[in-house]
């Protein structure tokens, strides 16, 4: 091959490289990243348990919250000699909820304590906390129409191995009205155990006094 013969061949190679380069550039120019749209669906969930609740399994085992319509009671029976003497009387519950559905840990002591817990889920930046309120009648009443103010009933909040601060703190019922009994930050599990007591500072006629408190959770 003569030097003069190399010229055209080198030109052809250069041209071919240019063409390949042009194809590569064209391919790169037409490429665009693929876009997938992530859409949060039904992102808000709410769960409140006062007394017994329902989960398919513990949360940390993949459990899902269920509905339990059971209405639990908290009660005490006073001997005739102590009615109205000012000595608080411990109340007990018929709730059997001692374990947390979060991990099965024995969190409350039954029948001395009533479990209260729950959570709410929402997407986006955390805003306001969910509020748990109690709608309280003015009084407990008996069949004869006698009454005892609901403010005679208080509760002390705790939980086995819990820090001093409880999401559902200690309190006393108002006699008629709606009161806040706790709050929950979004996307956190919250639970406490309530030990109720009757303050026993009023003298009431003999009888069985009942009243129902409705707990409501309101998420923002």
């Amino acid at each position: 091959m003569t030097p003069s013969g190399r010229g055209p061949r080198r030109c052809r190679e250069t041209l071919r490289r240019l063409i390949v380069g042009a194809v590569l550039l064209a391919a790169a120019g037409s490429a665009a990243p693929y876009t997938a749209t992530l859409t949060p669906a039904a992102p808000q969930e709410i769960y409140l348990q006062v007394g017994v609740g329902a989960f398919t399994n513990n949360y940390d085992a993949g459990g899902q919250p269920q509905i339990n319509t059971t209405i639990n009671t908290v009660s005490t029976t006073l001997a005739v000699g102590v009615v109205g003497n000012g000595t608080a009387q411990a109340m007990t519950t018929n709730s059997t909820a001692a374990q947390s559905y979060w991990d099965g840990f024995t969190f409350c002591t039954v029948p001395a304590q009533l479990y209260i817990g729950g959570f709410f889920r929402t997407t986006g930046t955390t805003t306001a906390a969910a509020q748990v309120t109690a709608t309280v009648p003015a009084a407990l009443t008996n069949a004869s129409g006698n009454s005892i103010p609901f403010s005679q009933i208080s509760w002390v909040s705790s939980g086995i191995a819990d820090p001093p601060t409880e999401p559902f703190p200690s309190g006393t019922f108002v006699s008629g009205g709606v009161q806040t009994v706790g709050s929950m930050a979004s996307n956190t599990w919250n639970e406490s155990c309530w030990a109720f007591s009757y303050s026993n500072t009023v003298v009431a006629a003999a009888g069985t006094y009942t009243g129902a408190v409705l707990y409501t959770m309101t998420a923002p």
């Binding site: 590569l24 665009a32 997938a36 992530l38 949060p40 669906a41 997407t123 986006g124 996307n187 599990w189």
Partner: protein, 159 residues
């Protein structure tokens, strides 16, 4: 030049090549045309990984799955060898996890946004490469207040 000095020169040359080569390799990364890909679902529905949250504000992942028929145009590299990566750039709404399974043409894998993972290495024998990939995205629910577009791409490292 003595034997020792030749060794020194060889070592210096090898070192220089070692330094230069990665820069050259990075320059040959090209985004692959995947405009032939088709999503089987119009959007990725994100749901809580767990219905209930933890006691602290952790583990609030939302996950969503979508299936995409991937078709990438590798014609420019036909009859050459290449390394193909799936890249998920850093983007809003924040850290995004992505894992995927394949039908075998590409490799399965997982990554976090800001990284890329090798999905194919070898000769390019067809002008188009196709596979059906099932993607699972995961994002902290606190970052996902509304629908957000997330982009990923296939990249070719030539050579």
């Amino acid at each position: 030049m003595s034997t020792s000095s030749r060794r020194a020169a060889t070592f210096f040359l090898a070192l220089a090549l070692t330094i230069i080569w990665p820069a050259d390799a990075r320059a040959k990364t090209i985004i692959i045309d995947d405009s032939g890909s088709q999503a089987l679902e119009p959007a990725v529905t994100m749901r809580w990984k767990s219905a209930a949250p933890a006691r602290s504000a952790t583990g609030n992942l939302m996950i969503g799955t979508t299936t995409i028929r991937v078709r990438i145009n590798v014609m420019p590299w036909l009859h050459h060898s290449g390394h193909i990566y799936l890249a998920l750039p850093v983007q809003k709404p924040g850290p995004i996890g992505l894992s995927w399974t394949t039908q075998g043409r590409f490799l399965p894998g997982q990554l976090v946004s800001g990284n890329r993972v090798l999905v194919y290495a070898g000769p390019i024998t067809m002008p188009f490469m196709e596979d059906t990939l099932t993607f699972q995205f995961s994002v902290n629910g606190a970052l996902l207040g509304r629908s957000v577009p997330v982009t990923y791409r296939f990249e070719m490292d030539e050579g």
